[in-house]
């Protein structure tokens, strides 16, 4: 085991959070701590380590009320890499369809002996509701269009690994800002770490009100291309839109799709992120998604490392119980 991993024996005392509900309520120091620990795990994983048994005997349940493949797999893998048991619970197979409330369902699962509950739900605030009613740690894996803190963290880790810093960078979030929990978590995290954030999309999905969150807004992708360091291309959330906010996908792609023509107008060293799953040809063309500036697959690897860091900070042993 490397020296760095030995150092992970107990959770730093400065970490006081019991849950991870969003990045809005975390301090810059807390976000940096998660990123630092994730960096250690990422290097260990890259070094070929597959098991870092810091959470042996702990149990983590994925309580997913919305479909997910990537995030759920990433959390399961993160838990297992740390030696914890990971269980999946999906709403389709549950007694929710028999009329049980979400709180009762969560309490029942908790009673089976669970240390952390990873929740995804279509309704903002549901992880918060569970956090108030459960004894275990609650991790928000996406609540409607509110927050998706681990996605925000892995995006920021990807940026930090590429540039060596976050402060002073200009990061554009492009697309369906209104319906994006990833956008909100990115905004909180990036702002706290000192980045300049631009939200860019059609005027039905981006409005001047976003300035009140300390970000710049723009309707025209072409106007901002030459001054951004990072482009994070958000998926159009068709399933969350009550009415279609733009006339056609074709028109959207014409105005916002990241293609090689637009790529040519960006700064050298531009970093392209996409939280996925992506609609190829809508937010980004295949050539850009698969090109050298794209870090889409790197994001996925960082996702496991970030989730390991979060699980360990919330469930890892504290100084007083160390041997």
């Amino acid at each position: 085991m490397s020296a760095e991993l030995v150092d992970l024996g107990t959770v730093p005392e400065c970490w006081k959070q019991r849950h991870l509900l969003g990045l809005e309520q975390l301090s810059a120091d807390e976000i940096t701590l998660i990123l630092d620990k994730a960096e250690v795990f990422r290097r260990a994983l890259d070094g070929g380590q597959r098991r870092i048994p810091l959470l042996t005997g702990k149990t983590c349940v994925n309580l997913f009320f919305e479909n997910s493949t990537r995030t759920r797999t990433s959390f399961s893998l993160a838990a297992r890499r740390l030696g914890a048991d990971a269980i999946d619970f999906s709403a389709a197979t549950s007694s929710l369809s028999k009329g049980e409330t979400v709180i009762d369902t969560a309490k029942n699962i908790e009673a089976m002996g669970v240390d952390a509950v990873v929740v995804r739900h279509r309704t903002p605030g549901t992880p918060h509701l569970l956090a108030q009613n459960l004894r275990s740690s609650v991790i928000n894996a996406g609540d409607g269009t509110h927050e998706h803190p681990t996605q925000g963290l892995l995006d920021i880790l990807t940026i930090r690994r590429r540039f060596g810093r976050v402060a002073g960078l200009t990061v554009a979030l492009v697309g369906d800002i209104m319906h994006s929990r990833t956008a909100r978590s990115n905004i909180w995290g990036l702002r706290k770490l000192g980045a300049h954030v631009i939200v860019c999309g059609p005027s039905t999905l981006v409005s001047p009100r976003w300035r009140e969150l300390g970000v710049e807004y723009s309707y025209k992708l072409d106007d901002i291309l030459d001054r951004v360091d990072v482009l994070n291309l958000l998926r159009i959330q068709f399933e969350r839109q009550a009415t279609r906010p733009f006339p056609s996908v074709r028109e959207y792609a014409l105005l916002y799709a990241m293609d090689s023509r637009r790529l040519a107008r960006t700064k050298p060293g531009i970093l392209i992120l996409a939280p996925g799953p992506i609609n190829r040809g809508v937010e980004v063309t295949a050539e850009v998604a698969d090109g050298p500036q794209s870090a889409i697959l790197d994001q996925v690897s960082n996702g496991v490392a970030v989730r390991m860091a979060v699980l360990w900070l919330l469930m890892g042993s504290r100084k007083q119980v160390s041997s």
Binding site: E24, T123, P124, G125
Partner: protein, 439 residues
């Protein structure tokens, strides 16, 4: 058997505030045979003298927007429990909304409500009838027969009357009975899936918003139809600066329109939703500060006529759900008076006579009921208020069957000390307290 003669009471030395007579002075109030008999009487011949020194003696309070849930949702509230909650909150008369199951759209249903209220023997209940049959918004309910059975006003509340042609007919048809049409002003296409006010907070929380324009658009439509027909419109639970301004202009033109506002729209903002607590979820939603300030100003300048609780009981199981699943609404009968005193009168936003007018005389006039006055000969419905009583809102002590309130734990000043209905002391509930103690 002839009824026991009612005791003659003297309410002595209280500050009598009766906006219906522009009265605000210390007086002794004599009550005989269940009616206001005289002012400035002495104790001679009285069965009991109630010392009201330091208290405010007001006409019994009237709440013109109460959901009693019976028939159909007795797990949330019954007419018995709801009227007890009304008494505990200082109300002697309430008007109940007909969105029950089945809805109050027939003579028999109106009579059922009145019968249950009479059995409960708490406060007076004035039923409202549906505008449309089965609240479907298609054809008019039998408004004439409902009036005959005792309905005082017409509304499909819970939902707006959507079809403008039906709304027009309702205004016209109610003209011959001189009854108001009360509408829940919401343009549904603009609010679908919404759970809170659309603004900065909804944007941050990612919660679907209900824009204030959804209310403004419907209030504009209703005022245009009332103006065109000469009908009487009452706008329920006004919550936006836009609606307030539209109302102000309409009143200036002489349109027959009145309006109410709830205590929660005067005291809370959309910032509360940051807790994701469903006790802050109501429709109309809690608005941002500028809207709240506009409502307070409109209350003070007379644009808004009445304060109504929109008492909307929901059992705990229903409220303890995901925010999009939890129903809209909160209970309010037992907190309204304390909130009005603490948050409007104490800070000097309203004076006592103005505030009490919004809770007595004005709602009586809107409903067309002979209540809300302490004039000689009127029914002795009286609320004696202790303006200094400090108390903490404890939902466990509510008389309502439901505890869905965002005000739990609030420290309030002022509450009803004694409530008389038709000359009979109905509150406090405890017989010994009622017989012995002065308020």
């Amino acid at each position: 058997m002839s009824p026991k003669p009612m005791p003659t009471l003297l309410i002595a030395n209280g500050r009598v505030i009766d906006p219906s007579q522009s009265m605000d002075r210390v007086a002794n109030l004599l009550i005989r045979d269940g009616r206001i008999a005289a002012y400035d009487a002495g104790p001679e011949g009285c069965d009991r003298v109630i010392d009201a020194s330091g208290k405010i003696v007001a006409p019994g309070l009237i709440d013109l927007h109460v959901h009693l849930r019976e028939p159909g949702r007795e797990e949330d509230e019954t007419i018995e429990s709801g009227t007890a909650a009304a008494l505990a909150g200082g109300f002697t008369s309430i008007a109940c909304i007909p969105n029950t199951d089945p809805p109050i759209d027939s003579q028999g249903a109106v009579e059922f409500v009145r019968h249950q209220a009479a059995r409960a023997r708490n406060c007076h209940v004035f039923p409202m009838g549906c505008v449309s049959k089965n609240r479907e918004g298609k054809e008019l309910a039998e408004i004439g027969l409902l009036v005959e059975a005792g309905a005082v006003a017409f509304t499909d509340d819970g939902a707006p009357v959507y079809n403008p042609e039906l709304m027009r007919r309702a205004f016209e048809y109610c003209l011959m009975f001189d009854k108001p049409v009360m509408n829940h002003a919401e343009t549904r296409e603009l609010t679908q899936h919404g759970v809170m006010h659309e603004g900065l907070v909804s944007l941050q929380l990612g919660l679907p918003g209900m824009p204030s324009a959804a209310e403004d658009v419907m209030v504009s439509r209703d005022i245009a139809l009332a103006e065109a027909t000469g009908g009487r419109l009452h706008v329920m639970h006004v919550s936006t600066a836009g609606a307030v301004e539209i109302l102000r202009r309409a009143k200036r033109r002489g349109v027959r329109v009145t309006a109410e506002v709830t205590p929660h729209h005067l005291t809370l903002t959309d910032e509360c939703l940051r807790t994701f607590d469903s006790n802050y979820k109501m429709n109309p939603p809690l608005r941002s500060r500028d809207h709240v300030d506009a409502c307070i100003a409109a209350l003070a300048d007379g644009t808004i006529d009445a304060i109504a609780s929109d008492h909307a009981p929901h059992s705990k199981e229903k409220k303890m759900q995901e925010l999009d699943q939890a129903p809209f609404g909160i209970v309010g009968l037992e907190t309204t008076l304390g909130l009005v005193i603490t948050k409007l009168i104490e800070p000097g936003l309203l004076d006592w006579p103005t505030a009490l007018a919004k809770l007595t005389f004005h709602p009586a006039r809107i409903l067309g009921i002979p209540k809300g006055t302490l004039a000689i000969g009127a029914d002795a419905d009286i609320t004696i208020i202790d303006p200094e009583a400090r108390w903490r809102v404890d939902p466990a002590r509510f008389r309502s069957k439901s505890t869905n309130t965002p005000f739990a734990g609030w420290e309030l000043k002022g509450r009803a000390a004694m409530v008389l209905v038709g000359g009979e002391i109905r509150y406090p509930f405890d017989a010994r307290e009622r017989e012995s103690a002065n308020p």
